[in-house]
């Protein structure tokens, strides 16, 4: 498919796919902090004001991830940035239960143009992808470059080939190049009311829409 399998001595590059990258989630308002011989549950702001560094207990989950740090930086930065990879129907729930090529083709091509928040990765048993997968650009992780290099034979499972890399870097740059704007500004009053009705968040009209 769209993957290559670089030798362990090959330097880390953008588009390299790793497994067992640690993902950490915190509840900052209810943080289990280790203080001396005891543990307390506390709010981050108070803990940070009282201690530096903070020792806390966190849960870590190993996930698949793909390198987004650009090639020039991957050889010298302390930490490599990666985006999490998950099953396609988890990242894009409308793909759940999609059995027919028509549906999956539409999602992978048409939706990929509309929704710039994920990047499709086809299954490949040699990589370890037994399902359709997707990169979630929302989920960015950070890992020590040195650790990745020292354990690259165990952790790096594949690399995007040239064609896929070109698409990946374009999608990645598009994701970060997006600008927020109030897309409802040119709607007339009736169109605006319809727009607002379909949005979960409160939306204020421009003066000419009132």
């Amino acid at each position: 498919m769209i993957y290559e399998f670089p030798a362990p001595e090959a330097p880390i590059r953008q588009g390299d796919i790793f497994l067992s990258i640690p993902r950490i989630d915190l509840n900052l308002s209810n943080l289990p902090v280790i203080s001396g011989d005891e543990a307390v549950s506390d709010d981050w702001l108070r803990v940070a004001a009282a201690s530096d560094p903070v020792t806390a207990l966190v849960a870590m989950r190993p996930v698949w991830a793909i390198v987004i740090t650009q090639d020039c930086d991957t050889v010298r930065v302390d930490d490599i940035a990666l985006c999490e990879i998950d099953h396609f129907d988890v990242v894009e729930p409308s793909g759940k239960g999609a059995k027919y090529p028509t549906k999956t083709m539409s999602l992978i091509t048409k939706h990929a143009l509309l929704n710039l928040k994920w990047f499709y990765l086809p299954p490949d048993p040699d990589v370890g992808f037994t399902h359709k997968m997707a990169v979630d650009f929302h989920s960015v992780l950070r890992v020590s470059r040195t650790y990745l290099e020292q354990n690259i034979a165990q952790l790096r499972r594949a690399r995007l080939n040239q064609i896929a890399t070109e698409h990946f870097r374009e999608r990645l740059s598009e994701y970060y190049r997006r600008y927020p704007y109030d897309e409802w500004y040119p709607l007339d009053k009736a169109e605006f009311e319809e727009y607002r009705r379909n949005k979960p968040e409160p939306i204020e009209p421009f003066p000419w829409q009132k």
């Binding site: 943080l31 203080s35 549950s41 506390d42 108070r46 004001a49 201690s51 966190v58």
Partner: protein
Amino acid sequence: MTETLKQSIATYDVASHVDADQSPHRLNESRSGYLIRPKLPLNYAGLWPILAAQNASVDLIFTATDLFELQGMSGAVTGGWGLPQRVNQVFGIVTSSPMVQTRKPEPARRISLAEARRLAITALLEAEERRQDERKRESAFWAALEDEL
């Protein structure tokens, strides 16, 4: 619960105290007698030139136990955990005032290691749940858009 501190005056860390107008967040949980320890490293010797309006050139050793407040030239009041009474008296720091009385350190909730682990796992699971809810909302939005097109 005390800490013995020895710090250089050159490394005075202003973040080791808390501005009076930064009220700590309250937690809706049961309380214990636990008090937050002062931030480390903490350099109380750095207070000397502020309070005594002169340069100090020696390191001092203090035990950090008490709550203090300090009113600067601007009139701003700063409070924090730190100076023991014997040092407060030397510096003229007020340790008993309405402000100190109303701004005692908030006790955190003491928990067992098992509870700490449960909190950590819960945080991870809840984050995953929130993320998936957001993905479903996004997906529904784009699906509706495609239907319209």
